[in-house]
């Protein structure tokens, strides 16, 4: 039977991660904008939430591979189908890559990857300062790309909900 909605685990993961990823983008943008006490406070949240997103993203990838999603509407133009599929590949790639790059860059920068006071994650790269520089640059750049992609995703979801009214929005929100 063809499903009309995403499986329950997929929906729970989607909405949990939506909240976490939006929070992360705001925490990241907020922390580099300030030198007040908010800076260390936001930085302290950024690391554990990032690792949580990495774990959830890997679980979600497993759920995605084992649960068939509902098909896109048959009358969706080919270009929109391609945009939908392509953007979802990119969203998955960024959900996994962003925390990994963050973890890798902190390792290369010689920083302790502190999840919370007393709990330090092992490094995944050797200490290499120029590599840190490039990874840190990539982390910032990809964060903007991620934000734009999420805007497009949100815009497309609302387009399905309000303009096409084709059940795509409900397959995740319903």
């Amino acid at each position: 039977m063809t499903p009309t909605r995403f499986a329950l685990p997929a929906r729970i993961l989607h909405w949990t991660m939506a909240a976490l990823i939006l929070a992360m983008l705001l925490i990241g943008a907020g922390m580099i904008s300030t030198t007040t006490a908010r800076y260390p406070a936001l930085l302290a949240w950024h690391r554990p939430i990032g690792i949580a997103i990495l774990i959830l993203a890997l679980i979600r990838l497993g759920v995605r591979l084992t649960h068939r999603p509902p098909p896109l509407p048959a009358d969706l133009p080919a270009l929109q189908v391609a945009a939908a599929k392509g953007s979802h590949y990119l969203l998955y790639a960024l959900m996994i890559a962003m925390p990994l790059i963050g973890w890798a860059m902190q390792s290369a920068g010689g920083y302790p990857v502190i999840l919370w006071k007393g709990a330090v994650l092992f490094p995944i790269l050797p200490h290499a300062v120029q590599l840190y520089g490039w990874l840190r640059f990539a982390h910032g750049l990809l964060a903007y790309a991620f934000f734009l992609l999420i805007l497009a995703h949100l815009g497309a979801a609302l387009f399905h909900a309000l303009i096409r009214r084709d059940g795509v929005f409900g397959s995740m929100a319903g």
Binding site: S33, T35, A37, P40, V120, Q130, Y132
Partner: protein
């Protein structure tokens, strides 16, 4: 739900615009006066007169040291930090002089500073950035920014206009007091005989949750000797760094870490204010530095001595400066990292055979 298609498109556009607006507001794009770490790095670059690629935007000239911290156990009475139980912890550090020019001469009345990285069990770290002055020149980010702006060289003369710094000091008595202190207080004749102060107040927390405001200082075993201000500018360019290399070859250099516990009424939120009068002092152990190497040869340059990297048992206080320092150091670190390390003054001088 609106029935007309244009209205529904308008609703979508409104939702997206609201998300962008929230992001822009949180990210400070709508509040240009907000001070970021990058903004501090920018003003320091301007005050330096140019960018020295690959070097720290402040305390650009440095030397690597390493050794250990031998804790005597006394610190456990005030903090559960893994540094304090009796035992030995490996340390790397970096001595530096204030200023953004990595090739500057040492004979200037500037901050002597020490960055330390204590490698504690289970991957925990304690990093410090400590200075030879007991207090700082300003107490908050806005004042730091304003003072740096006042120090930016005049485009015509390529020199800072002393009147602008004077004008700042005139409205900031704590800065005036600091400048007077730097002018009159004897400068240590060596990195080895200076006392290095935490500058900022932190909080120590014991295993049973008692929290106390503290500052700390590293007091040298080497007896203090002062530089003669009259001969300061006649000293060789790298004399402080060469002196440290020579001294460490003779034997390890030692400092006692002394924790100063705040009295009721001591200011914890203002690093320009000294804690005067009798205080509870706890000697918690000895910093032993037994190796030194230039930045290119040692292992200290590529760490960021961010004073907010603290182990369990040590917390930030209401002093606003550590957050400012952390954000600014981080901006400096990411810039110099991507530029890549460049040869430091002492390595270059050694390669030329300028020193023994």
């Amino acid at each position: 739900m609106p029935s007309s298609i244009p209205l529904r498109f308008g609703l979508i556009a409104g939702v997206l615009a609201a998300v962008v607006a929230i992001f822009a507001w949180v990210g400070g794009f709508l509040t240009p006066a907000r001070i970021s770490g990058g903004g501090i790095a920018n003003v320091m670059q301007a005050a330096n007169g140019k960018v020295y690629p690959g070097f720290r935007r402040a305390h650009a000239k440095g030397l690597c040291v390493s050794g250990s911290f031998e804790a005597n156990g006394a610190g456990t009475s005030v903090s559960r930090a893994a540094l304090f139980p009796s035992g030995i912890v490996p340390v790397i550090g970096r001595f530096s002089t204030g200023g953004g020019d990595p090739m500057s001469a040492d004979g200037r009345p500037v901050f002597h500073a020490l960055g330390l990285r204590f490698a504690l069990p289970h991957g925990e770290e304690w990093r410090m950035a400590i200075d030879h002055t007991p207090v700082f020149i300003v107490s908050n980010a806005a004042d730091f920014m304003a003072l740096q702006q006042a120090s930016v060289p005049d485009p015509a003369t390529h020199k800072p206009d002393p009147a602008r710094v004077k004008a700042f000091a005139a409205t900031h008595p704590e800065t005036a007091a600091f400048l007077a202190y730097m002018k009159t207080a004897p400068l240590p004749s060596s990195f080895a005989n200076g006392t290095y102060y935490s500058i900022n107040a932190f909080r120590f927390v014991t295993a049973d949750g008692q929290s106390r405001a503290v500052r700390w200082q590293f007091e040298p075993e080497a007896p203090f000797a002062a530089l003669d201000p009259a001969t300061l500018d006649k000293q060789p360019r790298d004399f402080l760094f060469d002196d440290l290399l020579a001294r460490i070859r003779q034997g390890p250099l030692k400092w006692h870490m002394v924790v100063i516990v705040a009295n009721p009424g001591d200011r914890t939120d203002n690093a320009t204010v000294r804690w005067t009068g009798p205080h509870r002092r706890i000697d918690v152990g000895t910093l032993v530095l037994d190796r030194a190497a230039t930045e290119a040869q040692g292992d200290c340059r590529d760490y960021n001595y961010d004073p907010t990297i603290l182990p369990k048992g040590v917390e930030l206080s209401d002093d606003p400066l550590p957050a400012l320092r952390s954000a600014a150091y981080s901006a400096s670190f990411r810039r110099r990292a991507i530029e890549g390390p460049h040869p430091d003054a002492v390595t270059t001088a050694q390669a030329k055979g300028d020193v023994q």
